[in-house]
């Protein structure tokens, strides 16, 4: 029931599995880039050098420069920071909103459950990107609004997972015993049900980080996510299209960054899923 005791061996097993090890390595690189990037990058992401526009990769600019002479490597490192920020913030918001909803629905059951889950189902029925597009259209495109949009997409799934687990836990005898002891619903939900609900929710959240990064890159590529001059891998690719045959490096590197990051998360997520539900 409680996976707290299982976690250490889970982690170890994950490391042993080469797939998830590779995945974790890639993710670690992303996180390192995000945290240490600005210190390590040779130039600022906005530093324009008009004498070296559209320069191919060289010793001065390891990954080349773009049409404004900005160093691609520095921009990619900065983009890592944005991607990670958006992913963590949007999943975090989804947790903050989704977990209470799922908790209350799972614990209370009956009508509360029906109403809350209906709302979540409607949100789920809406294809994610469309919802994000709609929100971007309504609120305007910006970093904050992108985070909001992705959080809205993520919330129903978190709520469902939380609800499923909360329902299981709420049926257990110790919850009944606490009710019989006289503890109020709020206390029971917070002290008994919530801590025992978190495990699967957190697993789901970590799997959602990957999809959040993808969604952000899609939105930014369309010009409806994070706006220039803030570099994000998506909008770097957008700019790359105009110069596609002159400066292919502008397309290769940001795209590869997205690809490798998402691959890393997917490898790790696969490993995680296999360990938790081995069927092969």
């Amino acid at each position: 029931m409680s996976s707290a005791a299982a976690s250490p061996s889970l982690l170890r097993r994950l490391i042993e599995d080469s797939r998830s090890a590779m995945g974790m390595a890639l993710v670690a690189i992303l996180v390192a880039a995000a945290i240490f990037g600005p210190m390590l990058s040779p130039y600022g992401p906005d530093t324009a050098d008009f004498l070296a526009t559209l320069a191919p990769p060289s010793s001065a600019h390891l990954l080349g420069t773009d049409d404004l002479g900005r160093d691609v490597l520095s921009r990619i490192l900065a983009g890592a920071r944005v991607s990670l920020l958006v992913a963590v913030a949007s999943v975090g918001c989804a947790l903050v909103v989704g977990v209470p909803i799922g908790l209350v629905a799972g614990y209370r059951g009956k009508r509360t459950d029906a109403v809350l889950m209906r709302c979540m189902d409607v949100l789920l029925a809406f294809p994610g990107i469309l919802l994000a597009l709609g929100i971007a259209a309504a609120l305007g495109a910006s970093l904050v609004n992108t985070i909001i949009a992705i959080a809205v997409i993520n919330t129903p799934t978190i709520a469902r997972v939380a609800r499923a687990q909360a329902m299981l836990v709420s049926r257990l005898d110790y919850v009944k015993a606490n009710r019989a002891l006289g503890f109020g619903d709020m206390t029971i939900m917070l002290r008994c049900v919530l801590p025992n609900t978190l495990s699967p929710v957190l697993v789901q959240a970590s799997l959602m980080l990957a999809s959040s990064i993808i969604t952000e890159s899609y939105l930014s590529f369309l010009g409806l996510g994070v706006q220039p001059p803030t570099p994000t891998w998506g909008n770097m690719l957008k700019d790359a299209i105009s110069f596609i045959d002159q400066a292919t490096w502008l397309a290769w590197f940001p795209g590869a960054a997205i690809f490798l990051t998402v691959l890393g998360f997917n490898l790790f997520g696969d490993g995680l899923r296999d360990r938790l539900d081995p069927r092969d």
Binding site: R118, A125, I129, L133, A137, G223, I241, A251, V262, N266
Partner: protein, 314 residues
């Protein structure tokens, strides 16, 4: 029959929910709703007329009822840019999208099913692992990146396919195929990745059943067993997944249409957002969502017809 009917009817509350959500999206726009619908240089008389027609001064629930009423009569408003009825624009845009979806589906099935079957039947071999890795890579590949790379190599360098534009099939089939090739492949590859894994998993499940083991024990040739019995059973969940994919791939559709200037519903949505043409945005988003739900429903029903166990319940 009763099950069939109840399944069909069950999407009605969902569709209604979609309408509510679409309405609320627009209602969220800060500022005057009239500006949202007519643009900034609206004629004051037209503005007043609009205000009455859509009950814009009233509280939200009444506005919703008014909007919904118009929706049911097919009136989705008019585009701010072109003045054309939104419904017409949306319906016109749906056709290229459907074409694209169909081609992508074919491409993905052509890739995914054989790959899935092979990897399942030669489990844990090199073929299996490479398929797994390729499919994982495919899932992680952003479709707009793939699109750009395909344009770079096949359109610009090798000059095989055009990089943008749309030709209706009936006008000029050859040109149509040329134009649909790159977008179709882009979208198809993305779909193939997930379908591949699903096919593999479904085949593995089926191959492990006693039913198959009995057939093998009876001495039926391995090839025959795999292709006839196992595949047919495995196709059942795959059908469902394909339906889901068509929805999940909305992001791919939007982005692919944008990159290749494909005049489908995705491009319509994005262009309208940039032009701040909110009636079109709302109409396009609603239409896409409805399409998604309907496709899921059809897939469900297809699934039920295919699986003889469920057919009895129909």
């Amino acid at each position: 029959m009763k099950m069939l009917l109840s399944r069909i009817l069950s999407i009605i509350p969902v569709l209604f929910g979609l309408c509510v959500l679409s309405f609320m999206l627009l209602a969220m726009i800060p500022g005057d709703p009239v500006t949202a619908m007519l643009g900034l240089d609206a004629d004051p008389q037209a503005a007043a007329a609009l205000r009455t027609k859509f009950a814009l001064g009233q509280p939200l629930p009444i506005r919703f009822i008014s909007w919904f009423g118009h929706l049911l009569t097919g009136d989705l408003g008019r585009s701010i840019q072109t003045g054309r009825p939104v419904l017409n624009m949306v319906l016109t845009a749906l056709i290229p999208t459907m074409e694209l979806g169909l081609v992508a589906l074919i491409v993905s099935l052509l890739i995914a099913i054989p790959a899935g079957v092979i990897s399942a039947s030669k489990r844990n071999s090199i073929a299996d692992y490479s398929v797994s890795l390729i499919s994982l890579a495919g899932l992680s590949l952003p479709s707009f990146w793939l699109a750009i790379l395909l344009i770079l190599f096949l359109s610009i360098r090798l000059q095989i396919f055009p990089s943008s534009g749309y030709v209706p099939f009936l006008e000029d089939p050859v040109a149509a195929i040329q134009h649909i090739a790159l977008p179709g492949i882009t979208l198809g590859v993305a779909m193939a990745a997930a379908t591949m894994r699903m096919t593999r998993a479904a085949m593995l499940d089926v191959l492990n059943t006693d039913y198959i083991r009995t057939a093998r024990a009876k001495g039926l040739p391995r090839r025959g067993v795999i292709w006839r019995h196992a595949l047919r059973n495995a196709l059942i969940p795959v059908t469902t997944l394909v339906g889901l994919q068509l929805g999940q791939l909305m992001g791919g559709v939007v982005v692919t249409e944008t990159v290749f200037a494909w005049p489908g519903i995705g491009k319509l949505t994005v262009d309208a957002i940039f032009a701040r043409d909110f009636p079109v945005v709302q109409g396009a988003i609603l239409a896409s969502a409805v399409l998604f739900v309907v496709i899921n429903l059809i897939t469900d029903l297809l699934y039920a017809t295919l699986d003889p166990r469920l057919r009895r319940r129909l």
